[in-house]
């Protein structure tokens, strides 16, 4: 029984660590800050619980009873946490919160939520180990007892990590998994305690499942309705729909952000997506017109395919021979169900789900026309390994002469900001692409769309007017005006690119996000 209790406690602690962040995600996001806080607080409570458990073990007259109570109370506290998180978040979060307002509220809220709802059960469960060692050492001696409990506890933790990530989240769901963990703790605790009747308390967490999941409506934009919800190993996802039929695929805390956008019957998704129509025009400039009929395009961070229509419009009369890479298969599934591509678009792209963009790019040919990067790990965090000079050099090698790398960069910095991460990314591009870089500011937003071309220049504004087809949204033209455009490499001295070895991008983005918050 001691080993079982140790394994169960180890399992529960890691399940809380992993699943806790997923439970927080719809309310507070899953930024690096939230993850670090969760891991740090869980580790601190393991340490504190272990220390206090050791002191208790030395003086306890009934260590088995004490251990049983720790298990049982851990289950009660975890159940309470699952139930109380939503009202706590609703009280804390202002209605209609936007991403640029959220920094302080999220950080404080995530910390407090973790302290109130995850740290107490972990603390109680961590008191178990010394008590179990005390119990077991009577038969096996302290050394062997400590080794046994440590080993089984760690195996339980390993099971907790693997089960949570690869089965619980995608198949069972976050809430159900945590509820079942509570049930196991309550039943095991009651049995160890010798009070079988207390096992009935397991009904309480099960009753939680009768309540509709409040997380699906967390941070819902005004006027939107939730159409679908999914949890993947990577993130919490949902599809929302507005009155005019527009749909957004959102991740984690949602707010006013989207992962993909879909407008029924319309070519142009709006915002930075529309600027992707420039990519085929730039990629074909000064190249022979009649040597290709297809543009080989890789889209890294495919999402639900919002990039396709603008790309196709800009490429016409050529078609695309596109590969869309999306890390999270759940995104592709939701996209297919709720934001389907047109038949014409679907015929021009092969979607590869479940693969990392940079890894998969290694198998791409070296004659690509366009590589389009629109990948975000969380709301505003560009994956570190997709923002380095080494990655840009790899992309450069996969492009044919004249080929184009396109990046969507979201920033919290104002248009006249000093050195921010945008300049550092530009510097990384410059090392491979030289001065063949052009950045367009997306109108009425803080996004830049950056184009970097291999070995060929960009068209002048006069030439661009000739090349642009009609019926491209006026905002795309606005983005091409000189006041909205930056050309070439970084003029400022002392700007360092991000590298695989040294990459403070996450810290820099987080700082910029904090600085903009009220």
């Amino acid at each position: 029984m001691t080993l079982l209790a140790a394994g169960l406690a180890g399992f529960a602690v890691l399940a809380v660590e992993i699943l806790g962040v997923h439970l927080l995600a719809p309310w507070f996001g899953t930024s690096a800050l939230v993850w670090s806080q969760q891991i740090g607080l869980v580790l601190a409570s393991i340490a504190f619980g272990g220390w206090l458990g050791g002191r208790l073990a030395n003086r306890s007259a009934a260590p088995m009873k004490a251990a049983a109570i720790c298990l049982f109370v851990g289950g009660v506290l975890l159940s309470s946490g699952i139930f109380l998180l939503e009202p706590f978040a609703e009280t804390l979060l202002p209605e209609g919160l936007t991403l640029d307002e959220a920094a302080g509220v999220f950080q404080r809220g995530a910390f407090t939520a973790a302290m109130l709802f995850f740290v107490p059960p972990v603390f109680m469960l961590s008191m178990l180990s010394p008590l179990l060692v005390q119990i077991r050492s009577a038969e096996r001696g302290p050394g062997r007892a400590a080794g046994d409990i440590s080993a089984v506890g760690t195996l339980g933790s390993l099971a907790g990590v693997l089960f949570s990530t690869f089965y619980a989240i995608p198949s069972l769901g976050v809430r159900l998994t945590l509820v079942l963990t509570c049930v196991a703790l309550l039943v095991a605790g009651a049995l160890l305690w010798g009070r079988k009747g207390l096992s009935a308390a397991a009904i309480l967490p099960l009753a939680l499942l009768m309540i509709p999941d409040p997380a699906s409506g967390a941070n819902l934009p005004v006027g939107a309705e939730v159409k679908a919800v999914a949890d993947s190993s990577y993130q919490h996802l949902r599809v929302i729909e507005f009155e005019d039929g527009e749909r957004w695929l959102q991740m984690n805390e949602g707010l006013d952000s989207f992962q993909s956008v879909w407008r029924p019957g319309q070519v142009w998704p709006g915002g930075y997506y529309d600027l992707f129509a420039l990519a085929p025009i730039y990629a074909r400039y000064q190249l022979p017109k009649d040597d290709v009929s297809l543009l080989k395009t890789w889209i890294l961070g495919f999402g639900a395919g919002s990039t396709m229509q603008p790309l196709m419009f800009g490429a016409a009369p050529l078609a695309l021979d596109a590969v869309g890479v999306e890390l999270d298969p759940a995104v592709v599934e939701l996209g297919n169900a709720w934001m389907p591509l047109s038949a014409e678009a679907a015929a021009q792209v092969e979607v590869v789900a479940g693969a990392d963009a940079r890894s998969l790019l290694q198998v791409a040919g070296d004659d690509l026309d366009i590589v389009l990067l629109d990948a975000y790990a969380r709301q505003f965090e560009i994956p570190l390994h997709l923002a380095t000079q080494e990655f840009f050099a790899e992309v450069y090698e996969h492009l044919r002469p004249g080929g184009l790398l396109v990046l969507n960069l979201g920033t919290t910095a104002s248009i006249d900001a000093e050195i921010g991460f945008v300049d550092r990314i530009r510097k990384g591009l410059e090392l491979s692409f030289g001065d063949n870089i052009r950045m367009h500011r997306v109108p009425r937003s803080r996004n830049w769309v950056v184009f970097a071309r291999r070995d060929f220049p960009f068209p002048s504004l006069h030439k661009l007017v000739d090349l642009l087809p009609s019926h491209v949204p006026v905002e795309v033209g606005s983005a091409c005006l000189p006041g909205q455009t930056r050309e070439g490499g970084v003029a400022k001295l002392g700007v360092m690119p991000f590298s695989d070895d040294l990459n403070p991008l996450l810290m820099q983005q987080t700082i910029e996000w904090w600085q903009e918050a009220p």
Binding site: V105, P120, G270, S414, G477, A479
Partner: protein
């Protein structure tokens, strides 16, 4: 960022001076906008410096969201000019870091130019209301965040209470 931070603001009525021009030449797509821009750039310097041309350009850029171009144009007009002030105010709506400046401009405009046509005054007031609401909103979020500043320490104290209870009550 996968967020579309669109700062939608009450849009200005066409300035009365521009109405005297052929304002039906507002471009409907990117190609037209860029063609118009190049036509303007090709004008002689004296024509480009003409106030009506500046206003027309600024208005067209404003409609198409080209903040950088708007500010470049109106920099040639002093802030004593009612339309320059209005255009700057509109551009300020697109970035929360400029909301306070936009609000100040609207106050100045209403003090100096409230005798202008009703449509202009109404639109400035609606922009002022928008910026005021936005400012109030940011203050509200700030105050909410500030009111929770004790939460982390409070939760630590609660945990210590739990730990004390555990030590005292566990057998």
């Amino acid at each position: 960022m996968k967020s579309l931070l669109l700062f939608l603001c009450a849009f200005f009525a066409v300035p009365s001076v521009v109405l005297a021009q052929d304002s039906s030449a507002v471009p409907v797509d990117a190609k037209q906008l860029l063609q118009l821009h190049l036509e303007w750039e090709a004008l002689p310097a004296s024509r480009r410096a003409d106030e009506l041309v500046i206003l027309e350009r600024a208005f067209v850029y404003l409609r198409s969201g080209a903040e950088g171009e708007v500010r470049k144009e109106i920099i040639n007009l002093t802030e004593e000019h009612p339309d320059a002030l209005r255009f700057a105010m509109q551009a300020d709506c697109w970035n929360p870091t400029n909301f306070a400046a936009g609000r100040d401009r609207s106050d100045v405009w209403l003090k100096r130019f409230s005798g202008r046509v009703d449509t202009e005054t109404r639109s400035v007031k609606s922009v002022q209301a928008y910026l005021g609401t936005a400012e109030t909103r940011r203050q509200y979020v700030h105050d909410r965040a500030a009111s929770t500043s004790w939460y982390p320490l409070g939760s630590v104290l609660l945990l210590l209470l739990l730990a004390t209870g555990a030590v005292r009550l566990l057998p």
